[in-house]
Subunit: 340 residues, 2 copies
Amino acid sequence: MKPAAGIREVAALAKVSVGTVSNVLNRPTTVAPATRDRVLAAIAQLGFVRNESARQLRTGTARAIGLVVLDVSNPFFTDVARGVEEVASEAGQAVILCNTDESVAREARHLELLAEQRVHSVLITPADTSLEPILKLRERGVSVVLLDHPAELADACSVSVDDRVGGELAINHLLAEGHERIVMVNGASRLYQARERRAGAQQAIRKAGRSPDTLRMIEVPAFNVACGRRAGEELLAGTERPTAVFCANDMLALGLLQVMVRAGLHVPDDIAIVGYDDIDFAAAAAVPLTSVRQPRLQIGRTAAELVIGETQQPERHEHQHIVFTPELVIRESSRRTHRR
Amino acid sequence: MKPAAGIREVAALAKVSVGTVSNVLNRPTTVAPATRDRVLAAIAQLGFVRNESARQLRTGTARAIGLVVLDVSNPFFTDVARGVEEVASEAGQAVILCNTDESVAREARHLELLAEQRVHSVLITPADTSLEPILKLRERGVSVVLLDHPAELADACSVSVDDRVGGELAINHLLAEGHERIVMVNGASRLYQARERRAGAQQAIRKAGRSPDTLRMIEVPAFNVACGRRAGEELLAGTERPTAVFCANDMLALGLLQVMVRAGLHVPDDIAIVGYDDIDFAAAAAVPLTSVRQPRLQIGRTAAELVIGETQQPERHEHQHIVFTPELVIRESSRRTHRR
DNA sequence: TCGGGTGAATAAAACGTTTCAATCCGAGTT
DNA sequence: AACTCGGATTGAAACGTTTTATTCACCCGA
């Protein structure tokens, strides 16, 4: 195991200066074809691999963009990540994927790491209401795009989906199906999504002129399957079971659904369920899940495009706030049947 | 936006040499408490963030380990990743997650990138039978752990699950349930997992003394839901529908299940289905899926531990090949009912 | 008072690139 | 023949750390 050939060994072998080798690597057109070939041959022969740290040190910034999400286990986020990756790799950028599990502490750690790596931009779904750590990034000159979190104040772009409309869509649908005792199972209200979806839901109730207690709230610690199960058990144990449940994401909905089915309840006749995100598994669930669809890939692609635009032409960049509109996909878990 | 404070600015402000600042960062105990506090104060005041590239350049290797998987959308891999992340972060290592989508070209690109980053180790589920690109990594001094791919020859550790046994378990179960026309839906046989699971399945048939045409093979291009759907449609269209299907992973099984249910077939009475991996969504599927369980987190944790052990004590490290044993989890999708 | 230690701090060399000003050389132009 | 021009190549500085050998200041025991 030799000590790894560097640019100077290559230069020596090709009988050129290190500057020329660097040019072959970075501006191939400026070097004469003959020498270029000689250098490439030397590179191949020595198995030379550019040392990215050295390059970065010199140029000042990494060719990577950080993507910080709330939960990698949630297919919603892996789909977003896929979108990001697609456009990033076209632009020759690597993506560093970080998972916070909704923890502020983990988020801070990851942001610290990304700052040390000198990534030029960060796409992030904030784990907290306070955007303070993110603003700090901006101060350091990092481009930031907030995902799923319109940044009214922050000096950054944002890409989001109108969660308020999403919440409304879900509740309107349930009301139209004739439900009058609805429970909303929500994640930590420290998360923007949780708050907005709730606000949308409540707004729908108000607009429909129903009593506020038509809609009861349950807050669980995290947006995952386990918490969905827990919420389901809670509902089963309690008195006054609702006739419909709106879960603020599909992971919760799938967990809850599982509990209901196992308990022998019929979905949707005994209890209707609506989820949020429309991940692929929603359609394949025990009872195909009605869900509020978000354009997952599109979110990722757009965010990546914004940030790449910003870093490539910082001067003529204006921060944008892009808001997609969600769409209700009705499936069996909430569709009126004629059984009862 | 000032030009980002470096270690020398900190040193100047704290009235010490840069060496001392570096010591505060890396060997805090060796510096006197008073000066240490002074330096820390300066760091805080300037908002100094260590430049990881410079550190890396000097020390020669990154504090990161690369994790290369076949499909980030597959919860199996995100769970493995979670395991890796857990132990890596305990050891102060970052994880760079790369997705190949089973493509050899993408795998090569990612390995190239990781090499440029000078990661000290790579955990990888190879996208191809040939391990050649991986051996090249080893030559460069990178520690490698093969995931899900026992490395008989390669100069590397491996962590895997006995896929042959897994295949056998699945088929034995279906035979025991009385099935005599079984189809196995498999991914690209360029993947080790596909080959082994098939071998196990065939072995089970042989051992049971059944005719080889009890088991028919279908090979689809990739281990994902879409391909599972396609296989399902193919089966529906063909003559001689099997009474049971063994899918070589849960994504395939979920896709296939969806098609069957939509076509009005009853699972398991009209057609039984067995999956592989036992991802969380398997239990929540339209019909809870029988599946061959692999210890997903454990795989990730073990791999990370191996590689960290190797890099920390290269001299007294011996390559290990750890093989877990899979376990059949029987659920409704294959359980004999008394309906027919 | 003198050495000999010890613990703390320093100065300077390296790490492997990129970049930029400077040089070189041959072809055109006058 | 003298000049200019432009493309190709070069050499050296710089990027921000870590590290190692060295110096420094001080105390202790002889």
